[in-house]
Symmetry: C2
Subunit: 411 residues, 2 copies
């Protein structure tokens, strides 16, 4: 069967899907308004760690252009700035890696075109929707922006919040010494928020992503309100003071003389409302559009799940596109069934971690601090959010996990 798949959006979901389809000899056209050169010059949009499960997927797609071992990290360092601070480490079995998406995405666009994919650079408006049904056998929408993304219905049952849970201040910085062993640091200042520090490759080489997840109304909210573009030096001064107070394990690795944004546009202040949308829109003529990536599920970046589930979701969709004989309601049902446990697991887990911690979660953290095996499992589950959520979905589940881990540690 000859097929032509249209993909709206050239983010990680759109590109991983497009590359998967080309790998299987299927015609694919990506429609996007952003050229590679524009992406490179953009303001920072996110900081993204690819867990090993995603790196493995990249290898299978033949797109791991960043094999240098120095780029990879093998653990999560945890710092809880509780009255009695907790410091402990969880190891991955396979390393992860973070590359600035302004470097990453243009490279994949090049791959896609080199492998016979077509990219159409243009603004996509509501007027373009009717033509899609006649042009493509299936349309995949991987960006929530624009006329098409908004057609996917909000899934109220899976979207418990109408407001962001954190206010984000995220930048790429120089002057932060790597942790030892090289890892991602997750620092928690109770009541005020989290800092996720990620060793990240950017244009000039190594940099450090500081993703500050600030509780609305807490002492760190200022980092999001402060007009950093108007007063860059004032912002850095404020940031250093806040880091010293709230996230000391990361502050301790900062060389204040060289500390600063890599480029002026390397700071983003904003927030996301965690949202799940229905995955199908009818385009008429028996044709459908299916959601992948952010238009399907937007998560707060705190647990590093967004890009990883977008990639999983896109390639899973690709597998079903290759395998199936028709793109209809039955197709959507199968795709949803294959994707939802992981996607909803990531969404629910992330939301749960950003709520005030329950007594059971706190008990789990205490146990992790003294139980490396448990902490490693928690860490490796960043690859498998459905497994993590199966342990966290209720107080009874958390307590069962703790009990089971105590037994395993004693054995």
């Amino acid at each position: 069967m000859e097929r032509h798949i249209g993909i709206i959006g050239a983010g990680v979901a759109g590109l991983h899907l497009g590359l998967y389809l080309r790998q299987h000899g299927i015609d694919a056209t990506i429609i996007t308004d952003r050229k590679p050169a524009d992406i490179a010059k953009m303001r920072l949009q996110n900081t993204v760690a690819h867990h090993s499960i995603t790196v493995e997927r990249e290898k299978a797609l033949g797109i791991n252009h960043w094999p240098d071992p120095d780029l990879y990290y093998g653990c999560h360092h945890h710092s809880f700035e509780t009255p009695q601070p907790l410091r402990f480490r969880g190891d991955f079995s396979k390393p992860g890696r973070a590359v600035d998406y302004r470097v990453y995405l243009p490279k994949l666009m090049e791959d896609f075109e080199n492998r016979g994919g077509t990219i159409e650079y243009r603004n996509f408006t509501a007027d373009d929707i009717p033509a899609l049904a006649s042009r493509f056998d299936l349309v995949v929408v991987s960006t929530g922006k624009g006329a098409l993304g908004q057609m996917f219905q909000h899934d109220a049952a899976q979207s418990p919040f109408d407001h962001p849970l954190r206010l984000l201040s995220v930048g790429l910085y120089t002057g932060v010494r790597k942790s030892r062993p090289n890892g991602v640091t997750l620092s928690v200042s109770p009541g005020h928020g989290e800092l996720i520090e990620i060793p990240t490759l950017t244009f000039g080489g190594h940099s450090t992503a500081l993703l500050l997840e600030n509780v609305p109304g807490g002492d760190l909210e200022e980092l999001v309100r402060f007009r950093a573009d108007d007063d860059p030096k004032g912002f850095l001064k404020l940031l250093l003071a806040k880091l010293e107070k709230h996230h000391p394990t990361i502050y301790d690795r900062i060389d204040t003389a060289t500390f600063g944004l890599c480029q002026p546009q390397d700071l983003l202040q904003g927030s996301v409302v965690p949202t799940v949308r229905k995955t199908k829109v009818d385009l008429g003529d028996g044709k459908i559009a299916v959601a992948a990536g952010d238009v399907h599920c937007v998560v707060d970046p705190a647990m590093g799940q967004g890009a990883n589930i977008a990639s999983f979701s896109a390639v899973t969709l690709g597998e079903e596109i290759v395998k199936d004989a028709a793109y209809d309601d039955h197709f959507i049902e199968r795709v949803d069934r294959r994707r939802e446990e992981r996607v909803l697991g990531a969404s629910r887990w992330t939301n749960f971690m950003l709520m005030p911690p329950t007594a059971e979660l706190f008990g789990l953290i205490i146990e992790m601090a003294g139980n490396p095996k448990l902490c490693n499992e928690f860490t490796m589950n960043f690859n498998y959010p459905e497994r993590q959520w199966a342990h966290l979905a209720s107080p009874a589940r958390i307590n069962a996990w703790i009990a089971e881990s105590k037994v395993a540690a004693a054995a």
Copy 2:
């Protein structure tokens, strides 16, 4: 974690689950009102073929007490009594087997008790429900009869009919010569119904199940209305006349001199309304009851799916019971996700086959008649109703399957 599972109902779902749980060292109690000796004396309730996938499951459970190769059949013979009759055969890769459930179930009850399971013989009434939550960690309901079965909500979206699609006349007979090679015969009299003939082990040894699936208002409905208990000879006479007219390939194998019911109670006249129910009921105290088998999904027996999906569903539920740490909404979601593609596939496929045939389905039958590879695939898919339904769910899918099969046959 020590667990005690309560199972209401001692049909194939309840017993396969109970035996799976005992195999994994979990306490299980089955509650039923029917003692083995009562079951053996009952009127025939059904005729059940176990496809190889179910036989393999029985082997894994250590309950295949019927290994005699003579009991097994390896194919489906198809007869379409269209103006130009179609006769063709589909082969299984592994054989199936049918044993009278009045022989089968008592043997499994014995196994269950021998392996440490408890069976409580009593009438279960609404008054018994409150005690369940305190007695068991989880309650599995595998019978739609009685107070508890009725608590499971009707799933209207998955239950398109409020009436039976066929009126059934089913019996175990002597005097029918086996087909060659030994197989199940599916005979279709367009507009009047189907006859499924199954070589079946019963109390006295070999017998033949004749499952007549009669279209309401058709020429065969009489077989369900006729008061056979009042006039057994008149019924046999009527049956032979109808078989000769509508299902000649089976009639041709009947020795009229020895033809008859094996026992007087070996005839059942009735019908089923295809029904899907929601799978969870809250019992209070954080405890739940989960549906398996007929209380979850009742299908018409035409495609031989009921017992096979009940067994699949029960053992899948058993795997999740063994694996999971809590029996809550998250548990139900996982169980449903693992079971629904096969269970709903069986339900939708069966309903589809009992509707007036579409042009595409008729095209598939014509192609199967001349394409053994396709017909074998169709036959083997009786083990995998989700695969069958993926090929049949829309006209485009059926046509794609035909086209693909023509290519494969030409290769």
